[in-house]
């Protein structure tokens, strides 16, 4: 089995950004990509939101429709660590079935281009590594009409190349290797709750004490969100106590729709650039706990300053 299309001869992940300004531009890129995949009998996948998926479905030649699988874009892109796991399993399944190449066009849902973009930028960087063991050609679609310029700048830094409506494949001049992008620690926007005093501050607590405080500040978030945050706080505080440097300071804020917990220790934070996005096999580094944390919160942000390393966790609606 061989690679086809623009990825012919490429080994591993062929990761392209598509920055489009109209539905026509999107279709001009996506339709040949999908038809080419179906013609080559490659697993061909669409992971777009409902409106864009409908647009593509209506435009596809009828003969191609049965060869394209449509995933719900929203569920694939709920949380970065979950998306990586789901995609890796999907890809491994296709490879096991003998696929020579898999084609996927996906789009990160609009809300993730806002408050939680930071961890999606980390996602886009990390998958250059996380999907590189698979013969994958993917198009990551970004609508330039709604995408902030800072996000577009990260898109170019995290995608080695881009595909344009006129069919050009261009290398990205600002592309940064994932380890370099992920080690740069861009500043994280402050949640407005953090501008007020924390409801609770704990210094060097036990993990049990840190868990208990989550329940004390819970405004009554729906479903299991609070319990998932309890798991995350337990893991992060355990990591800070074991792998960080004292003092470990845990601060809690709550609004009507969210709980924010920040855990600061005096250390430098995880040295693994993929920390949290990929499960670490080495249990001695706390990497599994950080991965579980990324699977259990609606937003996880890393930051580093002269005071040390801070992990901020959000349950409910990230701001």
């Amino acid at each position: 089995m061989t690679r086809t299309g623009a990825a012919a001869g490429h080994v591993g992940y062929f990761h392209e950004a598509v920055c489009y300004a109209s539905d026509e531009e999107l279709l001009a890129v996506v339709l040949p990509f999908l038809v080419g995949g179906v013609d080559s009998k490659e697993p061909t996948v669409v992971a777009l939101g409902p409106e864009k998926a409908d647009l593509v479905r209506r435009a596809l030649p009828g003969s191609c429709l049965s060869g394209v699988s449509f995933l719900t874009g929203g569920s694939m892109y709920a949380r970065p660590a979950a998306a990586i796991r789901a995609y890796r399993e999907l890809l491994a399944g296709h490879v096991a079935d003998g696929a020579g190449q898999i084609r996927i066009v996906g789009e990160i849902p609009r809300p993730s281009l806002g408050a939680t973009w930071n961890w999606w930028a980390r996602y886009e960087a990390a998958i250059n590594h996380a999907y590189d063991e698979f013969p994958l050609w993917s198009l990551c679609a970004y609508d330039t009409r709604i995408t902030p310029s800072t996000v577009l700048s990260d898109v170019l830094r995290t995608h080695p190349r881009s595909l344009h409506a006129d069919g050009r494949h261009e290398p990205s001049p600002t592309y940064a290797a994932p380890t370099s992008f992920l080690s740069a620690w861009p500043p994280v926007a402050v949640d407005p709750l953090e501008e007020g005093p924390p409801l609770i501050t704990l210094v060097d607590p036990t993990a049990a004490g840190a868990r208990h405080a989550v329940r004390l500040v819970d405004p009554g978030l729906p479903g299991d969100e609070t319990e998932e945050l309890v798991i995350a706080v337990s893991e992060v505080v355990t990591n800070a106590l074991r792998h960080g440097l004292p003092p470990v300071r845990v601060r809690y804020w709550a609004g009507a729709d969210r709980i924010v917990v920040s855990v600061t220790d005096g250390g430098a934070g995880p040295s693994d650039p993929y920390a949290g996005l990929l499960p670490s096999r080495d249990s001695s580094t706390g990497g599994l706990g950080l991965w579980i944390t990324h699977q259990s919160c609606n937003y996880v942000a890393f930051s580093r300053d002269e005071a040390g390393f801070t992990l901020r966790l959000t349950a409910g609606n990230p701001y």
Partner: protein
């Protein structure tokens, strides 16, 4: 008083006591009290025995340095326990319970100051196995015990491991309990299991060697308030070592979610 020879198996004796339980379905309680002040422990023991006597139970007091408590004279530890043989010692108490019931008591309450029995690592291991076995007898029968440990003497690590084998203990740093329940599997884990308990969990599982039935090691976790991934991995690893699957029965959605995330062989969560 010597330990009775083990003429019947512990299970048969247990069943005998269980028949008595049918008439008086009061499960016993199993408490651990670590103390640094003997007078404080004697106060606890006095209350425990008085409560039992008020409920019509026979009472016994075992300990080498204890005073008489409200007319109950202490029996020497060596008379009752000898060299601890978990099965034989459980059979001894099952027999004592039967005698108490036959004499018209509602049950049997025992205070044991057992510090002399846990001085060496080998003694601790044997006594831990005994603590769980007697816990199983107490969960099914009107036999209650208050185990006293002198924290000035007993190794702190050993004390923690022994404490968590009681349904109730007074060690604030020991956050979980592994104890008997009546039901399938007979084993419960309660409290909170996080990184502070993972190593202890491994040790006590080895010591108590819980039953594997039809390839499953069933754990009633209805009173488990938190469990982290380390403890789940530890439980799964123990079960695999026994050629079994651990079945964690818990209504906690978070536990089911962690197991789904980790996809650990040897572990399943049942939501109840």
């Amino acid at each position: 008083m010597q330990s009775v020879p083990l003429t019947a198996t512990a299970y048969a004796v247990g069943m005998h006591a269980a028949q008595a339980q049918a008439a008086r379905p009061t499960a016993g309680r199993h408490l651990c009290w670590a103390y640094a002040d003997l007078d404080e422990f004697v106060g606890r023991a006095r209350g425990f025995l008085a409560e039992g006597r008020a409920a019509g139970a026979a009472v016994r007091l075992v300990g080498d340095d204890l005073p008489d408590i409200d007319g109950v004279a202490p029996e020497p530890v060596s008379d009752v326990y000898g060299v601890v043989d978990p099965a034989a010692t459980v059979a001894y108490w099952a027999d004592a319970l039967s005698s108490a019931l036959a004499a018209g008591h509602t049950g049997l309450r025992v205070v044991g100051e057992v510090t002399p029995l846990v001085r060496s690592a080998a003694q601790v291991a044997a006594f831990a196995a005994y603590e769980h076995r007697i816990d199983r007898l107490m969960a099914r029968n009107p036999l209650s015990g208050l185990c006293g440990y002198d924290r000035r003497v007993v190794d702190p690590g050993a004390l923690s491991d022994l404490a968590c084998l009681h349904e109730v203990h007074n060690l604030p740093d020991v956050s979980f309990r592994l104890h008997a329940v009546v039901g399938s599997g007979d084993l419960a884990i309660s409290g909170e299991l996080d990184v502070t308990g993972t190593a202890a969990l491994a040790r006590v599982l080895d010591q108590v060697s819980p039953a594997v039935i039809d390839g499953e090691l069933v754990v009633d976790a209805g009173s488990l308030d938190f469990v982290d991934h380390r403890s789940l991995l530890q439980l799964a690893s123990y079960a695999r070592g026994r050629g079994a699957t651990a079945v964690l029965r818990t209504p906690m959605p978070a536990a089911a979610r962690l197991v789904e995330l980790l996809r650990v062989p040897g572990l399943r969560v049942e939501a109840r």
